[in-house]
Symmetry: C3
Subunit: 252 residues, 3 copies
Amino acid sequence: MRTIALLTDFGVRDPYVAAMKGVLASRTDARIADLTHEIEPFDVFGAGWFLSTVWRWWPAGTVFVAVVDPGVGTSRRIVAFERDGRTFLAPDNGLLTFVDDRGGAISVEDESHFLPSNSTTFHGRDRFAPVAAAIANGVSLAVLGPRIDDLVRLDYEPPSYECARVDGTIVAIDRFGNVITDIERSRIAFDRFALRVADAIIDRMATTYADGGDNAFLITGSSGHIEVSTRNDSAAVKLQLKRGDCVTIIPK
Amino acid sequence: MRTIALLTDFGVRDPYVAAMKGVLASRTDARIADLTHEIEPFDVFGAGWFLSTVWRWWPAGTVFVAVVDPGVGTSRRIVAFERDGRTFLAPDNGLLTFVDDRGGAISVEDESHFLPSNSTTFHGRDRFAPVAAAIANGVSLAVLGPRIDDLVRLDYEPPSYECARVDGTIVAIDRFGNVITDIERSRIAFDRFALRVADAIIDRMATTYADGGDNAFLITGSSGHIEVSTRNDSAAVKLQLKRGDCVTIIPK
Amino acid sequence: MRTIALLTDFGVRDPYVAAMKGVLASRTDARIADLTHEIEPFDVFGAGWFLSTVWRWWPAGTVFVAVVDPGVGTSRRIVAFERDGRTFLAPDNGLLTFVDDRGGAISVEDESHFLPSNSTTFHGRDRFAPVAAAIANGVSLAVLGPRIDDLVRLDYEPPSYECARVDGTIVAIDRFGNVITDIERSRIAFDRFALRVADAIIDRMATTYADGGDNAFLITGSSGHIEVSTRNDSAAVKLQLKRGDCVTIIPK
């Protein structure tokens, strides 16, 4: 059974997600799943990073519909591509930056699946949902619009992995207060290391959250990235860290 | 496949929705969908407006179960009707005001589907869920109780559309801070207009949120109603507007 | 159709639930349902009480996966048992205290279903989800690991029901501000009673929330336990009550 997986910044207290799901249920028997609707309003980067950490866990055939869309109604394109059997559909604003399209993206220009309502403020309901339903029902991307090779990408600097230093960035703070960096543990060239952020140095590495103790420690998170944590407390609050802060890994 | 679509003020941190869904899953194979559970506690108007904006997007066969029920356990009735192939089930407190019943409402009085637990505090689980499952399984409304013609309606004044003036009301503030009125753009008799609310006049109309600029502007929202918005900011906070405030549309 | 019902403290703004659901969707066609993901971080007691109030409403065949897991990655066991046709899977930290295992618990030690990623921080995705999928697909608990008889239990004192007095505890505050105790109405030996908590005595009993009036009153909640409520207001805030507070029922 195919699944349509939704990722938005709509929240669930307003009727937007409910309207999108109604359109989907009207047009396809595919299973509808929520990834999240709690992306901060307009936070394209947050949506992109979220998607990058989850998409591989979903089966081939999944259609990911990601709508964080400050440019709704403007000339910004709607884009789609396939990757490893999954399909990705999103506004062309960089949201798919962290899912490599491998050159196969299209611009959705066939309007035959769009709803006639033609609102300029809610393409989630009027364009993304019916196009996603069509894809889940078997319509091929090739008929939805022309190939493009200029997908918008976020202005994001990936970590620099050097022999004696790695520079990276804090990309997320989770609800437990874990501070998640974009530095992959497996790509650090030295075994023993510390993390420097602002004036602080964190040099204790833990294997589990429970073993880490009450002071800040480093841990390899569930996506393989270095995190800063404290046990049963928010490392982000304790160390006053926020998304976008630079971090450096140095040998010790 | 039939869908049972749920709308409540229960939130999801408490076990109430989970119990309702258990009863549904025990009694029907229909698909269970969440519209929202984040209606403010006891906010019958908010639930009614929400439902009015989404129900048409769902396919025929959908059973809407809306439980915002400050009168649970009292003699308030449970009511149901069909409209355009969908079924609506709710406490008789005005929640269905914005979905015209067209005279076909019934009072659910057949207790044979109710759970034996017979609690006075949780009809969502003990009455609404099993009755919704029965309807989704094919039981006809006609056997559930007598016709009624005195459905409770909210004390709500619809907009007055006049030649040179429209008076309406703010009916919702969404998570983006968009201020949503009940005035339908298509029913305004003049082309160029401004909106007056408290001491402010907003006279700039935008086609998309992105084009609107940083000052407050008017836009036709996704349900066709006039909204007040600001780009990437909360118009409600900026202009100190809240639900229930009166607004007037005047020509310019 | 079998259902896998999820209960976690992961929230939904982070990608954890979405990753778990992807693993489930990759491995089983069972229906996936959310009980809640809004358990307070690390609140094992809250998760346990939540589960105790909902599990009976779900049909036989349901697989409950409850992950509130401060000990993730340590030597704490993953445990499972069957009860009345449902299966329960959780970390061995007391979360299942309120669902009597009746001596049939096992420790999940067969690693063949675990994902190879082998992270120490996210067993929800790497162990609980694939094991739950296997169970939903028909794998029997007996092959997943050895019988155990030393399931971890929470340090919880059940109410003492005496002839002229019942001592109990506040176990939950819901979003409506209802104060929920663990005292079962049906086990109180006297008909007319009052509840004493801190310096306050609440001696009015109501049948419905609406009838209760604006001052605090007692009511039998939907799981049969004594609650303290006020109409359209938070009894917890008004009386400054919190989970864990002791309450006493006395005759009047």
